[in-house]
């Protein structure tokens, strides 16, 4: 067995960078929310890897709560995006300037 915790951390870090890229660079509110999901998933992978590394279920418990937070964030975020779309007829974050 040659997989070490470092490899899981590198995988989680690469996923996290992709999530950041998606949030920062895409010009679409729904894609930005998807980027947040990717980042939360990356954090879960790192936590589950840590749980296996130190043989303690604490990391898995926190990953469980991350899922609850992710579900909450998506429901609220998508409701806000739908409300935003109804008013401005677009999902471009640049249009948020006029939305205030």
């Amino acid at each position: 067995m040659t997989v070490s915790f470092d490899h899981a951390l590198v995988l989680a870090g690469a996923l996290f960078i992709m999530g950041i890229f998606c949030v920062v660079v895409r010009r679409n509110l729904i894609m930005m929310l998807l980027g947040l999901e990717i980042m939360l998933n990356a954090a879960s992978i790192a936590l589950v890897g840590a749980a296996l590394k130190w043989h303690h279920v604490e990391g898995q418990a926190i990953a469980l709560f991350i899922m609850a937070v992710a579900a909450t964030e998506v429901s609220i975020g998508l409701a806000m995006i739908v409300g935003f779309y109804r008013r401005t007829d677009t999902v471009d974050p640049n249009a948020l300037e006029e939305f205030k």
Partner: protein, 175 residues
């Protein structure tokens, strides 16, 4: 190379490739489907790392609930495909610089710290172990999470149920 490490690297490659495809798609339906593949890969990875309950919940909640919610919204609001650039040029440079910094710091951290070395010793946290641990040690957090979900439910109903102001003529009060 054992079977465990082969599986780990295959899953890692699938997750990274499908996520990379997801964040670069112009069509959001394709992006969501690629992300579903990525979450299935993550679920298998959780199973490989000894978290069967989290693997099941990853499929049920992430791939099943959250991504389907995204799919509903994407199909509901029917966005015209934008002809412009996919990525905003102004933000591309800072994003590349920052993620380059992140890679450098991460490489230093991984190579400099020896705590992460040493192979994984396989272990499985049975679902009942995790469940008992969560409900014995973190029962307050479980309550907070349930309250959070309730607040999200109410908030989504309030935000989503609101019509634009112009479509709401003021109701005259009957005297």
């Amino acid at each position: 190379m054992t079977l465990y490490s082969i599986l780990f690297y295959i899953l890692a490659a699938v997750i990274l490739a499908s996520t990379a495809m997801a964040i670069t798609r112009r069509d959001m339906v394709h992006a969501v489907i690629y992300l579903v593949v990525s979450f299935f890969g993550s679920a298998l990875l959780f199973y490989l790392l000894g978290a069967p309950l989290l693997a099941a919940l990853e499929i049920i909640i992430y791939a099943g609930a959250i991504m389907v919610l995204f799919l509903f919204i994407v199909m509901m609001i029917r966005i015209r495909p934008s002809a412009g650039r996919l990525l905003s040029r102004v933000q591309l440079l800072p994003a590349i610089v920052m993620s380059g910094l992140y890679v450098v710091v991460g490489a230093f951290m991984v190579t400099g710290d020896t705590a992460g070395r040493g192979d994984f010793q396989p272990a499985v946290a049975a679902p009942e172990t995790l469940g008992q641990y969560v409900f014995q040690q973190h029962w307050v957090t479980v309550e907070i999470a349930s309250l959070l979900l309730l607040v999200a439910l109410v908030g989504a109903m309030i935000i989503g149920g609101k019509s634009p102001p112009e479509s709401h003529p003021p109701v005259e009060e009957k005297s």
